[in-house]
C-alpha cells in the first residue's frame, strides 16, 4: 500500500523518506504518538474486520512497516525469539535481530532515528557514528523495551515504561518527523547499507560454502566477524569494500580476538574467553538459522512444500569404530532436498553446537576447543552429542534403518574430495551447464576443503542421481539401495579422515568389502 493510499484513509504518517529506513518498532511508536493511539487501540484496530474501503489493518501495518498477519497474531503477545522479530520486519530481514531489548545509538536517537540494522545481533556500534549502542533508558538506566509490538509498551509512546520520560528530551513533532541535514546523512548511510546488503542476499544465485581457517595458518584473520563469515557463506567472496569501510568493531565481539594465540587460549581455563567463544558460537548459530530460514522461504516459494525431511544423527560402524552421519528422511522434491543438502553441510553442525550449549561446560568447552581448532571433526562433535543424546539419536537412526518403508530406503553418499567431486560433476553435466557461470569452484585453503556448489547444480545433480541409479544393480553387503527418489546425505570429518577412506563417491556408493555391520536397510 502506498503512502498516498493510507494517508488518504486519514491516518497521520511519517514522511516517506524517513519512514523507509526506520525500524518498525520506532515507526509504530511514532504512529501511536501522532495519532494519539495507545497499544490497546492499535490492537483493536487490527482486530477490526477489514471492510472493502477501510482496510484498517493494512493501513496500520503499512504505516509501521510490518506484516498484517504477524501484527494480527502478535498484537497482544510478547514477541518470541528472532523468528518473530524477523517476521515483524516484513519477513525480509536477512539478519538475525535481537528482540529482547531495543538497541539504539544515542547519537541517532537525538534525531529520533532507529534502524533495524541497530538490532542486528552482531552490531555493537552505530555504523554511522561509531558510537557503542546502548540498551538502557538514557534517563533512568532501566532496560529499553522489547523490540516488538506490545500493547503495554504503547501506553505512553516514545517514553520509557519505567520513568515515563521521553527517550529524548525534544519529543515535538518537528523533532520526530522533520528531516534535517544531519539526519539526511544518517539516512543516506543506512539506506546505502541496507540496499547493498539486501540486494546481495536477495540474489538467486546463492553460493554456499564453508570456510574455516586452519589452526596452522598464519593467514588467519580472526578480526573477521561473523558477519564476514556469513558473507563468505552466502557469496564465497571477500567482503565488499563498502562494508569493509565500516569500522570492524561494529560487527561483533569476535573482532577483539587476534591471531593464533587467541585461538590457542580458547581451550585454556580462561573463563572470559570461553564465554566469548560460546557467545561467538551462539551468534554464528543464530546467523546460520537466519540463512536457513531465508533459504527455506525461497525453496518453499518454489515447490510449496511445508514440511521438510528431518535430519538426525545416526552412526555406522566403520572399521570397528563409529562414524556418525546425518540421516535424512528422503523426499521426492529436489527443491527440498537442495535445502536439506545445505543443512546437512552446515546447519546440522551448528544446530548441534547450539544443543551443546546446554550439555555442560566441560563437554562444551571440549567441543568448542575442537571446533575452534577447526578440525571440522564432525564425528567427534557427534560423539559428544551422542553421549548425551545417544538414546534419542541412535534410536531414531535405528528406526530409520530397521523399519523402512519404500520411501525410506537410502542411498548414501558423501562429499568426496573436491577434485573427485569436480570430476564427477564434469562427467555429468559438461554440456548442460557449459554456459553456467562458474558452476562450481573448488578451492583448497590451508588444508581445508572448500567446495562451492550452486543450488541449481545441486538440484540437477540430485535429479540425475535419482535417474541414474535406477538402473544400477544393488551392490555391496548391507548397502541400502534406494528407490530412485531417496537420498541420504552425510559428511565425515576432515581431510584426514577422507584420505583414509576408500569411501563412497557421489553417485555410486562403493562399499569396502570388509565393511562391517553397516546399519543400512538391506531391502
Amino acid at each position: 500500500m502506498s503512502l498516498d493510499t493510507y494517508s488518504q484513509q486519514g491516518w497521520l504518517t511519517a514522511p516517506a523518506k524517513r519512514r523507509r529506513h526506520e525500524s518498525a518498532w520506532l515507526s509504530l511508536q511514532k504512529f501511536a504518538f501522532v495519532n494519539v493511539l495507545t497499544g490497546r487501540q492499535i490492537s483493536d484496530l487490527l482486530k477490526a474486520e477489514v471492510d472493502t474501503e477501510g482496510g484498517q489493518r493494512e493501513t496500520v501495518a503499512a504505516a509501521i512497516g510490518a506484516e498484517v498477519d504477524w501484527l494480527r497474531a502478535n498484537k497482544v503477545r510478547q514477541i518470541g525469539p528472532s523468528k518473530a522479530a524477523e517476521d515483524f520486519l516484513g519477513g525480509q530481514s536477512p539478519f538475525v535481530v535481537e528482540d529482547k531489548c531495543v538497541k539504539y545509538c544515542p547519537a541517532c536517537l537525538q534525531h529520533w532515528f532507529h534502524s533495524t540494522v541497530h538490532q542486528v545481533a552482531a552490531v555493537v556500534a552505530c555504523p554511522h557514528h561509531g558510537v557503542p549502542l546502548r540498551s538502557d533508558c538514557p534517563n533512568c538506566g532501566e532496560p529499553m523495551p522489547e523490540f516488538g509490538f506490545r500493547t503495554n509498551d504503547l501506553r505512553e509512546p516514545l517514553r520509557c515504561a519505567h520513568c515515563m520520560q521521553p527517550f529524548h528530551q525534544d519529543a515535538s513533532l518537528r523533532a520526530l518527523f522533520a528531516v534535517s541535514e544531519e539526519l539526511k546523512a544518517i539516512l543516506a548511510t543506512f539506506a546505502s547499507l541496507e540496499q547493498s546488503i539486501r540486494s546481495c542476499f536477495a540474489t538467486r544465485r546463492l553460493t554456499l560454502g564453508m570456510q574455516f581457517p586452519s589452526r596452522y595458518s598464519n593467514e588467519v584473520d580472526l578480526r573477521q566477524s561473523y558477519f564476514v563469515s556469513l558473507w563468505v557463506l552466502e557469496y564465497g567472496t571477500a567482503i565488499p569494500r563498502f562494508l569493509a569501510d565500516v569500522p570492524a568493531y561494529c560487527w561483533g565481539p569476535m573482532v577483539k580476538k587476534d591471531g593464533d594465540e587467541a585461538m590457542r587460549r580458547i581451550g585454556s581455563s580462561s573463563m572470559d574467553e570461553r564465554k566469548d567463544a560460546m557467545q561467538m558460537l551462539r551468534v554464528a548459530g543464530q546467523q546460520v538459522r537466519s540463512v536457513d530460514r531465508l533459504l527455506r522461504r525461497r525453496v518453499r516459494s518454489i515447490c510449496g512444500h511445508e514440511s521438510l525431511p528431518r535430519m538426525s544423527f545416526g552412526y555406522v560402524y566403520w572399521f570397528r569404530e563409529k562414524r556418525f552421519f546425518l540421516h535424512v528422511r528422503p523426499s521426492d522434491c529436489a527443491c527440498c532436498m537442495t535445502l536439506v543438502h545445505w543443512r546437512a553441510s552446515y546447519g546440522g553442525l551448528m544446530d548441534m553446537i547450539q544443543r551443546l550449549n546446554r550439555i555442560g561446560r566441560s563437554i562444551t568447552e571440549s567441543a568448542v576447543a575442537s571446533i575452534l581448532g577447526f578440525d571440522r571433526n564432525f564425528s567427534s562433535i557427534a560423539t559428544y552429542a551422542a553421549t548425551q543424546f545417544e538414546r534419542s539419536v541412535v534410536s531414531v537412526a535405528t528406526q530409520l534403518q530397521t523399519a523402512p518403508t519404500t520411501t525410506k530406503h537410502f542411498i548414501g553418499y558423501q562429499l568426496a574430495r573436491p577434485e573427485e567431486l569436480s570430476a564427477e560433476l564434469d562427467r555429468l553435466w559438461v554440456d548442460a551447464f557449459a554456459d553456467t557461470l562458474d558452476p562450481r569452484v573448488v578451492d583448497m585453503h590451508c588444508g581445508t576443503s572448500l567446495c562451492r556448489i550452486q543450488p541449481d547444480v545441486i538440484d540437477q545433480l540430485l535429479r540425475d542421481l535419482a535417474g541414474a541409479t535406477k538402473e544400477r544393480p544393488r551392490d555391496g553387503a548391507g548397502a541400502g539401495w534406494h528407490e530412485p527418489r531417496s537420498l541420504w546425505f552425510c559428511e565425515i570429518g576432515s581431510e584426514m579422515f577422507r584420505r583414509r577412506l576408500n569411501g563412497w563417491y557421489v553417485g555410486a556408493p562403493r562399499m569396502p568389502v570388509d565393511a562391517e555391520g553397516i546399519h543400512f536397510d538391506a531391502q
Binding site: Q9, T13, Q41, D44, L45, R174, F177
Partner: protein, 346 residues
Amino acid sequence: MRPPVPSPGSDVNKQRLEDIDYRRQLIHRHQLWENKYLLETVVIDEAYHLIVENVLVGTGGLVFIAEQQRVGRTRCTWSVYHKLSAAFPNIPFDLVVARDGLHAKPDLFYRDFLDALGGQIQGRPRTVDWFAILKHYFTMQCIKNQSTAAFLIVDEAQTLTLRQFQHLFHLLNRLELDGFALHTILFAQSEFRRILEMANEYGYEEVMGRFFVKRARLRGVRTKAEVLRMLEQFDTTLCYPADATDWPFTRFFAREAFDAGMRLADEIDTCWAAILEVEGFEGEVPESADGIRMTWLVRGIRYYLTDLLASAEPAASEAAAGRWLDAMRRGFRDAPAEREGAAYVA
C-alpha cells in the same frame, strides 16, 4: 482533503471513439456529465491572484462571498486549490467543506472538523483528545512539506457559527505556539454577511482579525469574452479520455462537424445572444448584476453538445442558433428552485 478528480476515462477504447454509437454509450460517463472538470475563468483568475497577494504574503483571513447561488463557488475552490498546489508545491494546502451540524462543543467540533478534512476518526475511544489530533494533522502537513505555514480553504463557510470560529481560533493559536501558522481562505454564500454583522456586533474581534480580514465578491460570468474563453476550452484543452488530446469535448459530441471545422468558439455570437435572451438582458450584462450563473451556463453548453451527439447532424448556422437558444433555455430553466431563490444585487 483534496478536491475530487474527474474520471480520466482510461477504460475507454480509443479505437472505437470514431463510432457514434459507442460515444453515445459513453455519454453519461463523460466528464461533461460527471461535472468534475474544471474551467479556467476570469473569476477564478481573480480569486487566485487575490489569494496570492493577500494570504501568501502572510496577512491571512480572506473571505469570498457569493451573493448568488450556483455561480460556481465550489468549482472555484477546486480550481484555486489546484492552481495554488501547482504554483507552490512546498506549501501545504487543504480543502474542507463545512456543513451544518458540526458540533458546537469544542472537542466534538474538532472531531467533526477532522472528519470533514478527511481525517481518520474511527477506532478511537470517546475520551481521545481530538484537539491534539487536529493539531497534529496540520503540524504533520507542515512538516511533510518542510513549511511553517499551512493554508486551509473552507467552502460553505456560512455554515460555521462564530463559536466554531472561536474553536478554530484556539487551534490557530496553539499551532503558533509550536511554530506553525494556519491561514484560512473562506468561500461562503450571501448568508455569511449575517455572521460578519454578528461578529462585529458581539465583539468577536479576535475572530474577525484572523478569519475575516479581507472580503471579496464572487460573481458569475459577465462578458462575452469570458464565455468565449470557456467555449475555447471545450474545443481544445478539455479532453475525454483525459490522455486523448485529439478528443476534446466538442469533438467527442460532434465528431463529423468538428472534423469539418466546426468549433464552439466560432458560435460565440449565437451562444451569447441566446444567453442574453434567456436571462432577459439586452446587449450586455448590467454592471449591477452579479453575472450569469456558471452552473446554468455550463448546463446549457452540455445540453447543446448532447443534442449534437443525439442528432448526429452537423451544426448548420441557422440550426445552431435555434439549438443554442433551446439548450440555454433548458439549462437555465432546469433549476426552478435556484431561480426562485436568486436575487440580483442591485
